[in-house]
Amino acid sequence: MQIDWREYDGGEFYDELISSPGYPRKVTRNLAKYLSGLSSEEITARRHSAELAIKTMGISFTIYSEAGNIDRAWPFDIIPRVISHKEWLKTERGLIQRLAALNCFIDDIYNEQNIIKDKIMPAELITDSVNFRPECVGMKPPLGVWAHICGSDLIRDKDGSFYVLEDNLRVPSGVSYMMENRRVTKRIFPELFENHNILPVTEYPNQLFDTLAAISPRPLEFPEVVVLTPGIYNSAYFEHSYLAQQMGVELVEGSDLVVEDDYVFMRTINGLARVDVIYRRIDDLFLDPEVFNADSVLGVPGLMRAWQKGNVAIANAPGAGVADDKVIYTFVPDMIKYYLGEEPILPNVPSYLCIDEEQREYVLANLDKLVVKPANESGGYGMLIGPQASQKERDEFAALIKASPRNYMAQPLIALSTNPILESKNAEPRHVDLRPFVLQGRTSCVTAGGLTRVAMKKGSYVVNSSQGGGSQDTWIVSEEEK
């Protein structure tokens, strides 16, 4: 049996591949034709070779469970998700604009706080934020940039346009999987790359290194940049190691670093060597046991002192997470207008703030229609998907919201777009989102596409890999034929 696109129906949702059953979109035409030309044996063979490649290349992620940590092979579906280059150019501009505004905001919050003085944002949002770090007040990091790396989650609604669902500014992960997905796809569908103008994704490690080198306290051509990982048991360890390798820099753990006279050094076989830039992949609270969590063995005593003196750069800067908050998120369009004097290019998903009485009443009255999210969770934990929840769960959330309105916001359930995945040798629609990665240093740039995450279960909206989601290669394709 071959794939027949006339049999494939995304239903009421926007489908990334077809505009209606049997009619692929302009940018996916070649792909759709190619896929429907494969026999089911060929499809099975490609799928197996992808699985084998992932297993032998050691692409994995770790799941925490009661039975111990399990290293799982990366769940990957071989059908790519395609976005037109023209549409992407606009999205890219929107993402760069957004991160620029977020950086202005973080810098403002830790310094003048004009956005509060000008009454664009209520002061209690900051004072009550669990991610606000008083230790960072008055800091002026190089280039005025706090969040150098941002992973924003984009979704497409029924109308086919992109909305920003959230901005991950703490330690966003997934970029290595974006690159590995491409490597695997090239291996199993080499002929497709000959016939398509697909933007390459391989530039990211160089761009990341340039971004990090730009904030080095010492003006060196190749400053000592390190990737700071919590260690091998972290779920994103594969990525930490991958990025260090691709950038050609050291991957360090807290125990490798030591602070002396407010400078950071790493312990090498030659003795101590000075470190200029730390790309940290551990949370603020574990960075420095002298300042934050005193029990932390992941961090480096004295690191904050060295950073405050400007002797080492940290990306993302400590405290940058203040803007990674689902309540602060609702103000991003206002920030863009306030700091940049521009209109937002990418819209937010409409949101209701529980801190506002009127909006809270609406949320409480419409829990069966809304998605409620805590301000500071990630990985899809701690949220309520109203339409799919039981009355008991909704009642529990109502109580939570009333107890701590600052910590919740709600959004209508967005009808996430679909892309086909292979399910028992046939194509079936599943919901997808997209996480592009945005860099800001001396210049700004965005990955060509990003990581497409896909809910492998029919009808499910949960795309997180920790909760059974998979991923697909993402292609930015020019309409012009090659």
């Binding site: 297993k55 032998t56 290349m57 050691g58 260690g231 091998i232 360890y237 190691s241 991958y242 260090a244 390798q245 050291e250 991957l251 360090v252 753990e253 807290g254 125990s255 490798d256 790493m266 312990r267 090498t268 076989i269 030659n270 063995v297 992941l298």
Partner: protein
């Protein structure tokens, strides 16, 4: 190079070498068994003793049969020097250090791990075992070859070689131990100890170290205890001879920074090895001499650790 990474690379070298050595150790006994006449038995329990695992073997050593010992040495995850433990640790260390090695190396280690995990549960019986052991030896050789041929001979490579040669020196001394009195003690006193059996024994030892031909070319004499032991301990050219491994260590030391301390410890071990009067020791008891060599190799390891690795207190638990 980071001290922590140097330590990981070193241990990866050790564990990969240990995989090969466990395979070879088991191989000696298996081969021996095939060549010995009826009535001469092999003490399987002794293998556990020689591998250094007797502290972890919870049952009675003397009554250990082939199957139990094979399971313990090859497939027991609670035995830290078993084949499965060694490949698991090698893979863990390879995962941590994969950014500094050619990517094919991780793939190879990972493949061997997956292979053993699948095959070991059913590959312990004698029929299956030989193929499995040979596969392990070939894969570890491929690993060494890939590193020698595709990895820059930098500090990381130096630490890898250190781990590998130190482990190999240790294990060759243990395999020589198999050949000396321990394994056939009972059997040989039961049947009159005589030369043909002894030759069979030493031939198996040489073969398991892939050293039979090298020995014949070098010694030009038929196989006998004295010459084999001297060859395996003191030959400077045979790569699995203890002397050769120690010289390799010395060579690696000389390329690394601050190597005076470990070098000092090493030269005293080399002196001890060179000045040993093997024929005399074979009379009086080689066992003690070998134990003392093993202890000295342990001291070389300690010197390496204090010189280049993270201070213990600094390593997160």
């Amino acid at each position: 190079m980071l001290s922590r990474v140097a330590e990981r690379v070193y241990w990866m070298g050790r564990y990969m070498e240990r995989c090969e050595n466990v395979a070879r150790l088991v191989d000696v006994n298996t081969k021996l068994l095939l060549d010995l006449p009826r009535g001469v038995s092999v003490g399987w329990g002794t293998l556990i003793d020689i591998s250094g695992g007797s502290d972890f073997y919870r049952r009675d050593l003397d009554s250990a049969d082939e199957r139990a010992v094979m399971r313990f040495l090859l497939a027991d995850q609670n035995n830290p020097s078993s084949l499965i433990s060694s490949i698991t640790c090698a893979r863990e260390n390879a995962r941590i250090t994969r950014e500094i090695m050619p990517s094919e190396v991780y793939t190879l280690v990972n493949d061997l791990y997956l292979y053993l995990k699948e095959r070991l549960p059913k590959g312990i019986a004698r029929g299956e075992r030989q193929a499995l052991l040979e596969e392990v030896i070939v894969k570890v050789q491929q690993f060494s070859g890939m590193l020698a041929g595709c990895m820059s001979h930098n500090d990381a490579y130096g630490f890898l070689r250190l781990g590998c040669n130190l482990e190999r020196a240790d294990m060759t001394s243990r395999i020589v131990d198999v050949g000396t009195r321990r394994i056939l003690t009972k059997a040989l006193t039961e049947i009159e100890a005589n030369e043909p059996f002894e030759n069979i024994l030493w031939m198996s030892v040489l073969r398991s170290l892939s050293g039979y031909q090298m020995y014949r070319q070098h010694v030009l004499d038929r196989v006998n205890a004295e010459d084999v032991v001297m060859f395996l301990l003191q030959d400077p050219l045979f790569p699995r001879a203890v002397e050769h491994c120690l010289s390799e260590l010395s060579e690696s030391f000389s390329r690394l920074p601050n190597s005076d301390d470990p070098q000092r410890v090493l030269v005293s071990v080399k002196r001890q090895l060179k000045t040993a009067d093997i024929p005399q020791l074979l009379e009086s008891g080689l066992e003690e001499h070998i134990e003392s060599i093993q202890a000295s190799i342990g001291e070389v390891h300690s010197a390496i650790a204090t010189t280049w690795f993270l201070p213990q207190a600094q390593v997160a638990p």
